[in-house]
């Protein structure tokens, strides 16, 4: 009897581990920047390169920083939802145009629509590194004091917005 019970128990435990493993998302590395002040940046604007825009310009607002690029395929998937979000106007969205060509980025926005209040250019990816960006798109929720409250890795979806981000936005805006 024992001969069968022990291997069976080992098997059940193993299956348990594998089952939990299936539901993990190893690609989503938790950011150490949550609840920390967002790294300061002052970058040139995508649409008007002679002007600059920085973190300080968003002080006092609850806003989204969306890291995007015209070469990023998932950004295309995410884009329609960002357009809807911009239309709803709950929070301003600032784009961080990550390691892109200026012309490509401007064309991309002209073709698919511009959900951003402002896009800033991070051509060499340094600001991206400061934000711990490792895969585009990524979206940061930043509060009135410039503290990062949430990070969405991968495309922002209606579901993620409703379930996680919107309640947080409401709490932070209250």
């Amino acid at each position: 009897m024992n001969r069968f019970v022990i291997p069976l128990l080992v098997f059940v435990v193993l299956v348990g581990f594998l089952f939990v493993g299936l539901r993990l998302h190893p690609r989503e590395v938790p950011s150490p920047l949550i609840d920390k002040p967002a790294p300061a940046f002052q970058l040139s604007q995508l649409q008007a390169p002679e002007k600059s825009f920085g973190l300080a310009d968003m002080k006092g607002k609850v806003w989204l920083l969306n890291v995007w690029a015209s070469w990023c395929v998932s950004c295309r998937d995410e884009h329609p939802f960002l357009m809807e979000l911009a239309k709803e106007g709950t929070v301003p969205i600032v784009g961080l145009n990550y390691k892109d060509q200026q012309q490509d980025a401007v064309q991309w926005l002209a073709r698919f629509g511009n959900p951003y209040q402002q896009s800033v250019v991070d051509a060499d990816g340094r600001t991206g590194i400061n934000f711990g960006v490792y895969g585009v798109p990524e979206t940061f929720l930043i509060d009135r004091d410039g503290v990062i409250r949430y990070k969405q890795i991968g495309p922002l979806t209606r579901e993620a917005w409703q379930q996680t981000l919107l309640p947080l936005v409401k709490k932070l805006s209250a």
Binding site: P26, R27, V29, P30, S31, P32, L33, K99, D124, G125, R126, G128, I129, N130, F131, G132, Y134, G135
Partner: protein, 158 residues
Amino acid sequence: MIRRALLALLIALSGAVAVAREAPPAAEDPALEARLHALSTELRCLVCQNETLAESRAPLANDLRREIRDMMRAGKSDREITQFLVSRYGDFVLYRPPVKSTTVALWVGPFVLLGLGVAGWFVVLRRRARRIAVQPLTAEDRGLAQALLGSDTARKTP
């Protein structure tokens, strides 16, 4: 004659190619590159998660190597550089994460499993030893053995 000239040209060109290929590393600071390599083999690339920063060809890995190079040139210590990366990407970038409450299972787990395995092994061995305990020979067995072994063994035994 022409053939010989062509051959000479070819040899000269192949030499030029070989030189061109080896030139870039020599142009940079070899000591710094060695230090960069040593440090980046300890760091994980976030894009291809099972590769080190030294091996990875991902664009982000390139950028991070550039950052590390710049920091090294600026005289930052390895510890400061790792701290820079950990503060942005978390302990996940370290192939040797520090011992913390969240990483205890990672560090101690294998030894616990090893201990369990050794304990199980001892239990099995002990049970087996008990099962094959020495059984004294009965008179009947002894007689049988003597018959098999022959008379000279029988004479010697008291």
